[in-house]
């Protein structure tokens, strides 16, 4: 039965997988999606610790924002979010059956546009640390 189908002794013998654009897109989308959920949970958690009052809230946030590492992470978050959005839109089009022949090109476009947006926003993000 397929459920217990055994692929045998040599399943992984020296066989590398040559990824195609669609597979890379899938991997990246998955990765970025997970980072985003992770962030969502952390985000709420962080905000929760700061609900103790006006000062605490402002201090917590501003305190965090003063750290370079947080700023860098934010750039990371932006890139992850932007890619996920762009590729997400690409996937929505795929779901609707548009532009299937150009799925590889649209994936590359998502990457390029993500990079461009991220580079363009670095000054805004890192300003005033």
């Amino acid at each position: 039965m397929s459920g217990t189908y055994d692929r045998g002794a040599v399943e992984d013998f020296g066989r590398w997988r040559e990824f195609q654009p669609g597979m890379w897109a899938w991997i990246f989308h998955k990765f970025t999606g997970w980072v985003l959920v992770g962030y969502l949970f952390t985000h709420i958690a962080v905000l929760s610790t700061a609900t103790g009052g006006e000062v605490l809230y402002t201090n917590t946030l501003q305190g965090l924002e003063e750290l370079l590492i947080v700023r860098v992470l934010e750039v990371g978050l932006l890139s992850v979010a932007v890619f996920h959005i762009l590729n997400g839109v690409r996937l929505l089009f795929v779901d609707l059956g548009f532009g299937l022949e150009n799925q590889d090109k649209s994936f590359y476009a998502s990457l390029v546009v993500t990079a461009a947006i991220v580079v363009a926003s670095v000054p805004t993000f890192l300003a005033g640390v």
């Binding site: 397929s2 459920g3 002794a9 040599v10 997988r17 195609q20 669609g22 597979m23 899938w26 059956g97």
Partner: protein
């Protein structure tokens, strides 16, 4: 040249064996003769091959996966190298046949039609699923690595167990089941040329299994129907001759847990299909059809 497992025994041993297991119909004399002839002939073939390789304007090298659980010396998977004289129009399958017929007759692979219709020889060539008979050697970078399809149990050398693939194909009720047939004698069911055009690509599948082997999801989920089976379901679901009732049934089959929703639109199936079937497109269309029919019931 051949890297076939060493089979040669000393003269005495062979003779001793021969005496021990001599079949009734064949005299000892006969047998020795044929063995001698065999050795001479094998040498001759290899010599001939070597000569052909020497004389050829061009030769190609192939690295072929070898494995036979049953034979000592082959039970550890490995690669063998063969040099093959090149001719214009040579396919991967031609190269394999040459290697088998000249160097090592135990080299095992499925093939039959030589024209991309029987679907026997889907192989993993230079890291991609392709039909051996439809892949020109000239288009590949040498040495050409030839391996069995990934994610299927390897039976021997390039032969994989297709049973799982067949099961998935048959799980989608891959047969025509019209709601009704015309009454009149010798009367065909009408089908518009447009509708035939719509299902045309999906009917071209030759069951080679390349798509299934290339799909990551199918590799991770044994029960996933896989692109070929879903395409088969598409072929019937979209055929207007079957009728609406049957179409609902078909949508239920592909909508099950390990059906269309598993597909992550990775497109590798579409990339490798030797019959150029737009598999991802068909899967996506079925997803939409399924959603539509579900919404209808709300």
């Amino acid at each position: 040249m051949s890297t076939q497992i060493e089979q040669e025994q000393t003269e005495e041993q062979t003779e001793a064996d021969a005496e021990a297991a001599e079949p009734a119909e064949q005299s000892h004399q006969d047998r020795r003769l044929s063995e001698k002839e065999a050795r001479a002939e094998a040498r001759e073939r290899e010599e001939q091959a070597r000569e052909e390789v020497r004389d050829a304007d061009d030769t190609v090298r192939i690295k072929v996966f070898r494995y036979d659980p049953e034979v000592e010396g082959k039970s550890e998977p490995r690669f063998d190298d063969f040099s093959v004289p090149f001719f214009k129009g040579m396919t991967v399958l031609d190269a394999l046949i040459y290697a088998r017929d000249h160097y090592d007759s135990s080299l095992t692979f499925r093939h039959s039609c030589r024209q991309a219709v029987c679907g026997s020889d889907a192989l993993f060539v230079n890291g991609q699923q392709r039909l051996g008979c439809k892949t020109q050697m000239a288009d590949l970078e040498g040495p050409v690595r030839i391996e069995p399809l990934p994610h299927q149990d390897v039976v021997k050398d390039l032969v994989v167990d297709m049973e799982h693939f067949y099961e998935q194909m048959e799980a989608v009720e891959p047969y025509f089941q019209p709601d009704e047939l015309p009454e009149g004698e010798r009367e065909e069911q009408r089908q518009s040329p447009e509708n035939r055009e719509k299902v045309k690509m999906s009917t071209r599948c030759i069951w080679c299994g390349a798509c299934m082997s290339s799909c990551n999801i199918a590799a991770g989920d044994n029960e996933y129907l896989g692109p070929a089976a879903i395409n088969k379901a598409y072929r019937f679901a979209m055929d207007e001759r079957e009728g609406e009732i049957q179409k609902e049934d078909r949508l239920e089959i592909i909508e099950q847990e390990h059906g269309v929703w598993r597909c992550q639109t990775q497109f590798s199936c579409t990339e490798v299909c030797p019959k150029d079937i737009p598999l991802t497109e068909h899967i996506q269309e079925l997803k939409r059809e399924a959603v539509k029919s579900n919404l209808k019931f709300w």
